[in-house]
């Protein structure tokens, strides 16, 4: 369905509430081009009440770049919210209200009550969202400092643990926003060390200090698109073919895998991309016998070697 009709029905009440608004601002509010908005206005000008004489048609007066409604033909209020619209907004509001540090919970409760009253929604929504951010005391403190820096537009000095490389590094970053995705909070920032936009998991920021310097992400620093998930497979990444025992199937739910082939006994064969060899070895070694590496063979060999070395070392321990 086209979204033009809903826009046409909302336009007159919208203009009525804002006499003398600039065409440009109205177009921005509706998310359309100025040209499209002018077309909509021209169309509305042809509409009106039965009779369709000069006094029956919607009348808009243009003055320079501004518009004012002279006659609304009885369309003074917008259409009420549909169930889906009210749900999309209210569910999101409630999710925000229950997450620490996002918005003022009191403001959310008031907004929910007002929208429910105006929309006349009685039945419970079919969707519930809990962002479920787990936050220890240390992470809460990191979040407060990060939020302050975002508000004050200041750069940050962070000590960060990169899990993929098992490495701790010091970085100066220019904060862009705080992202909450899949139950975790991330600082999105321009990393001066990597010379790129990076996401830093808050619970992996070991130390953080606000600098006096202004945050200055370069103009070409684009916000990360997380609409298809946090891990975006890159074509140059390594790929492994694994067979997962039932107890290790969660790997296929947690990490993006390509091509899943069901095998007997609830096992599954997957192709999984990874950026860092050492990270993959740590991940798979931890699964013990629940994951079998079919390829590459040197990855399988490395896993066995690491396991044997560990057992040998543990043998030393038993004898001491």
């Amino acid at each position: 369905m086209s979204d033009r009709l809903p826009r046409l029905l909302a336009l007159v009440p919208y203009l009525l509430a804002r006499p003398g608004i600039r065409v440009e601002d109205a177009a921005a509010d509706f998310g359309v081009t100025e040209k499209q908005l002018r077309k909509d206005l021209e169309l509305l000008w042809m509409c009106g009440l039965p009779g369709y004489g000069p006094g029956d048609l919607i009348d808009l007066s243009f003055e320079g770049d501004t518009i004012t409604v002279a006659f609304d033909a009885g369309m003074s209020r917008p259409l009420r919210l549909t169930g889906a619209e009210a749900t999309a907004l209210l569910v999101a509001l409630r999710a925000l209200g229950e997450t620490p540090g996002v918005v003022d919970g009191e403001a959310v409760r008031r907004a929910v009550a007002k929208i429910e009253a105006a929309a006349g929604l009685a039945q419970p929504a079919g969707v519930v969202v809990g962002l479920g951010v787990r936050e220890g005391e240390d992470t809460a403190e990191v979040r407060r400092i990060v939020q302050n820096a975002l508000t004050a537009r200041k750069a940050l000095r962070i000590t960060y643990y990169t899990a993929s490389k098992d490495q701790i590094t010091e970085r100066t970053v220019d904060p862009m926003r705080l992202l909450i995705v899949e139950g975790r909070s991330y600082l999105e920032a321009w990393c001066r060390r990597a010379d790129a936009v990076r996401l830093f998991r808050l619970d992996r920021i070991d130390e953080v200090t606000q600098l006096d310097e202004r945050a200055a992400p370069p103009p070409y620093a684009e916000p990360t698109d997380v609409s298809s998930g946090l891990f975006t497979p890159q074509p140059d990444q390594l790929v492994a073919t694994l067979v997962l025992e039932p107890d290790a199937r969660w790997l296929a739910e947690y990490y993006p895998v390509e091509s899943v082939e069901e095998l007997e006994g609830g096992r599954v064969r997957v192709r999984m991309r990874y950026a860092d060899r050492a990270w993959m070895v740590r991940l798979l070694l931890g699964q013990g016998g629940e994951v079998h590496v079919e390829s590459p063979t040197d990855l399988a060999e490395q896993l066995r070697t690491r396991a044997r070395q560990a057992l040998e070392l543990a043998g030393n321990l038993a004898s001491t």
Binding site: P6, E85, A107, G126, Q147, A163, E182, V281, L285
Partner: protein, 323 residues
């Protein structure tokens, strides 16, 4: 949508809003500009049916009925739109409330919900509320709906239908047909679940959407009403969660290795094992099961000293991996 059709639909809405009488299709054909283009009655009927469907899909409360006059009811059905059902009620948001609404509308990364939230914002703006979405948000939560079963399940919830689907459980590994009367679709920590009455188990159950295999089929009306006192979010959040109990562990870490362990640990003293220099450290572990695979992953760089149950668990993993 063609210009002619958009214009006709706006005129139809204005006409039906302005009348208290029910207007018959014939009257509408005669009055509303655009229908005159229909060459014959059949073409008009097709046009009018399509228009009615479109208005109803937008949520416009199109009423059907007959007027009463001196000589009884009209012979045919007519149409009108009751203004009180059409119009959004008065609403006025304070700046902090409007800011919350603007952020809420951006929560979704979902074809179904992004559009609906945008539609709601357009209407709130038309009601005179200023919702500013141009200034970047400092904190931005995002929720995705990527599972194909999301839409059919949500529709089943809203229409009060029972559904059936194939569901794969990892442990014990099984693929089974489940029949449920869904009460709600729940996102918890970025994962989607459906909660409802399980007809086979005769009890409330929740299922992960990512484990649904193939299509969700509607098999009739739901019979078990959603209990008033059930909190769907709590139900999901407390189902199958590993209880968090922390335990202290003592481990040995090779010098300069396993930064992930070291950053959470307190060094007790240095110690040489075999011919490798390292430190004995102490750290707090949450979720002992996942701690075993995390520590085993470091291979010869980390050795667990105690507790014994954790040492064994790591040792067994390494034995299996060495095969």
């Amino acid at each position: 949508m063609s210009i002619a059709r958009a214009e006709r639909l706006v005129n139809l809405v204005l006409c039906l809003l302005s009348t208290r009488q029910f207007l018959s299709a014939d009257r509408i054909r005669a009055i509303v500009p655009g229908y005159a283009d229909a060459p014959n009655t059949e073409a008009f009927s097709r046009m009018f049916e399509r228009d009615k469907t479109e208005l109803r899909e937008l949520g416009i409360p199109l009423e059907t009925g007959r007027n009463t006059g001196f000589d009884g009811f009209d012979p045919v059905d007519g149409y009108r739109i009751a203004r009180r059902d059409y119009e959004l009620g008065d609403i006025d948001l304070e700046p902090d409330e409007a800011a919350a609404v603007a952020l809420a509308a951006r929560l979704w990364d979902s074809p179904e919900l992004t559009g609906a939230a945008h539609g709601a914002i357009i209407k709130l703006r038309a009601a005179g509320v200023d919702v500013d979405q141009s200034s970047p948000a400092i904190v931005e939560p995002k929720v995705r709906t990527a599972e194909p079963s999301f839409s059919p399940l949500l529709a089943a919830v809203q229409e009060g239908k029972a559904v059936t689907f194939s569901y794969r459980r990892p442990t014990p590994a099984e693929l089974r047909t489940r029949t449920i009367e869904p009460w709600g679709v729940v996102s918890w920590r970025g994962r989607w679940y459906v909660v409802g009455h399980d007809r086979d188990r005769k009890a409330p159950r929740c299922f992960r959407l990512s484990r649904i295999v193939g299509d969700v089929r509607i098999i009739g009306r739901a019979e078990q009403p959603r209990p008033d006192d059930i909190n769907l979010l709590d139900f999901v959040a407390t189902t199958g969660n590993e209880p968090m109990h922390t335990a202290m562990a003592r481990v040995w870490v090779a010098e300069g290795k396993a930064a992930g362990v070291r950053r959470r640990a307190k060094v007790l003293g240095s110690r040489r094992i075999g011919h490798i220099q390292g430190d004995e450290v102490e750290l707090e572990l949450r979720f002992p099961e996942s701690a075993a695979s995390w520590l085993a992953g470091f291979g010869p760089d980390v050795l667990v000293l105690e507790p014994e149950v954790l040492r064994k668990s790591v040792y067994e993993r390494l034995l299996e991996a060495a095969k």
